[in-house]
């Protein structure tokens, strides 16, 4: 299983752990760990909402991450 970040440089299409094949017109970044994919999102400064649990979201924006309450979005 590998972590695969599918993105457009400005948008995350998917971040998944898979051993499948992905066909996409977008860009693919593969890594051993999820954190490497997170770092890539930071590097690209993409805005991305990654749900942590029922109420929390890890918000990527401009190269930084913030944990926020879902209701605040």
């Amino acid at each position: 299983m590998i972590w695969r970040l599918i993105h457009t440089n400005t948008e995350v299409i998917d971040l998944l752990e898979t051993n499948g094949i992905t066909a996409t017109p977008h860009k693919i970044f593969e890594a051993i760990t999820q954190d490497e994919c997170f770092n890539k999102i930071d590097e690209l400064k993409i805005t991305y909402h990654y749900p942590l649990n029922e109420n929390g979201i890890l918000l990527f924006s401009g190269g930084t991450r913030t944990i926020i309450n879902k209701e605040k979005i």
Binding site: D14, H49, P51
Partner: protein, 528 residues
């Protein structure tokens, strides 16, 4: 007619004595009589001076800087035919004895906002009382209302944190409201003497209230709140033939049953969630049930018998229960909005009848035991009606679910968030074979700035290569037919499913994949 006025030189008449405590810049008690020209006078002492003043409504500033407990005397020739006692927000102290008062018909008693008022001795009267307001005081123990046999209209005693009981009088007067919430009512509240009870009834947030004995009343209720109490056993609502409106008995952890009345009133809210409802909940007597219906988190609730109702539902929550077997929703022709029944591990089926209402906030039945085919074809408005008002379908982890029949739909679907579990179609971890997405060819998969590209999650269904090929070919047909609705989709059909190929079952899965991931459709597809 001679003018009647009690004076200090006249030792006839009656004296009402009561106390205040704490300073108040505006001590302004008032009283009114019906008919005639009766007046009262007041004797006030603030620790330094004694003041005597006449008038049925007075404002006395002598207590502005006087914190002491003082005795006030209200004097009059007669306390008959009093239509108003208004002592609200006057720093009343201790017990107020009104037993010598003789009320006129339709009288009003206003004693609210007296934080040191600990008791009320009520006048003995057959006259009707139209309002009795003693909220946000400090009434202690039991409030005996039995002297008020004409009790009705409006009653408020909420916010008396030490009030442990109310003894209601035998009265057939009609109530517009009855508020006794946020007190400390303890044990059972016997409402049987109040045959005219109706309107707004609120006794919520009485953490020691274990029961309510309802009166036999035909009055319509617009609110019945008894949530966040300690109701125990079964709540018998059958005497309330006019029950409807906004009904809430949620968060009573000892409430094991509700016996609903035969009522045709419209319900816009029915909350019985987070209780301990046990066995079956029979809703069939409620032909006007609709709106916002919540019975989630009743871990021993095994069934719901729904009423025949054409009312529109915007919420139907029955998740985190123990619904067992089939949930028959066919009597509800107005189902829509948000439908959530997930986490019922023994729920094997859901049956629907035709509904033309939008499911704008999702249809969630994941982590159940749905078995065989789930027929959603009667739900013609599954999904949302516009690109700004969308829905989704979440059925993952139903390991015996083999098929889904979709409605013919032109609705809009979007992830609720950009994860597998909250996808536009979250159908992974079931036992699905081929499922036919072509009835949804007129639908639109909507992307969202935070929700991401619309996702269809079909991984880990143990599908054959033929089934995977067939689904991919169907998707390519949908995209061809409706490129606006079926472009920019993120499909996961990997895991335990077979890998697509170019010919199994007579379907060219690889060709369809390449078609979908190319321009102008721009799908992302992850497969085995």
């Amino acid at each position: 007619m001679s003018r009647q006025q009690f004076t200090s030189r006249n030792d006839k008449g009656q004296i009402l004595t009561f106390q205040k405590s704490g300073s108040t810049a505006s001590f302004d008690p008032s009283i009114a009589f019906i008919g005639g020209s009766r007046r009262v006078s007041w004797r006030l002492y603030n620790g330094a001076n004694t003041t005597q003043t006449a008038g049925n409504s007075i404002t006395y500033t002598g207590f502005t800087s006087d914190n002491g407990i003082r005795t006030i005397e209200m004097r009059g020739n007669s306390f008959k035919n009093i239509s108003l006692i208004n002592f609200n927000t006057d720093n009343l102290y201790g017990n107020l004895d009104l037993s010598q008062i003789e009320l006129s018909s339709g009288s009003t008693i206003l004693l609210f906002n007296n934080q040191n008022l600990t008791g009320i001795t009520n006048p003995n009267t057959n006259s009707t009382v139209s309002q009795y307001l003693a909220h946000t005081c400090n009434l202690i123990g039991n409030l005996d209302l039995t002297p008020l046999s004409g009790f009705g209209g409006g009653f408020q005693v909420y916010g008396n944190p030490l009030l442990t009981g109310i003894t209601n009088p035998s009265s057939s007067e009609i109530f517009n409201f009855y508020y006794a919430n946020n007190c400390n009512l303890t044990g059972n509240l016997d409402l049987t003497p109040l045959s005219g009870l109706g309107g707004i009834f609120q006794v919520q947030t009485n953490p020691y209230l274990t029961g309510i004995t309802n009166p036999s009343s035909t009055q319509n209720f617009t609110q019945y709140y008894a949530y966040s109490c300690n109701l125990t056993g079964s709540l018998d609502l059958t005497p309330l033939s006019g029950l409807g409106g906004d009904f809430r008995v949620n968060t009573n952890s000892g409430l094991t049953g509700i016996t609903n009345p035969s009522s045709s009133e419209i319900f816009n809210t029915y909350y019985a969630n987070n209780c301990n409802l046990t066995g079956n909940l029979d809703l069939t007597p409620l032909s006007g049930l609709g709106g916002d219906f919540r019975v989630q988190t009743n871990p021993l609730l095994t069934g719901i018998t729904n009423p025949s109702s054409s009312e529109i539902f915007n919420i139907y929550y029955a998740n985190n229960c123990n619904l067992t077997g089939n949930l028959d929703l066919t009597p509800l022709s107005g189902l829509g909005g948000q439908f959530i029944v997930n986490l019922n591990p023994n729920l094997t089926g859901i049956t629907h009848s035709l509904s033309n209402n939008n499911f704008t906030n999702g249809y969630l039945a994941y982590d159940c035991n749905l078995t065989g085919t789930l027929d959603l074809s009667p739900l013609t408005k599954l999904g949302g009606p516009t690109s700004g008002s969308t829905g989704n379908l979440v059925l993952y982890s139903n390991t015996s679910l083999t098929n889904i029949i979709f409605p013919t739909s032109t609705q809009f679907f979007r992830n609720s968030s950009n994860t597998s579990a909250n996808s536009s179609f979250s159908l992974y971890g079931c036992n699905l074979d081929y499922i036919d997405f072509t009835p949804l060819s007129g639908a639109t998969m909507v992307s969202g700035s935070s929700q991401g590209t619309s996702r269809i999650e079909l991984q880990n269904n143990g599908m054959s290569t033929t089934d995977v090929n067939h689904i991919l070919v169907d998707f390519s047909g949908n995209a061809t037919y409706n490129p606006t609705g079926w472009s920019n989709v993120n499909l996961n059909i990997s895991g335990t499913n077979g890998a697509p190929d170019s010919g199994s079952g007579g379907y060219n899965g690889i060709g369809a994949r390449n078609f979908l991931t190319g321009s102008p459709y721009n799908w992302t597809i992850t497969h085995t």
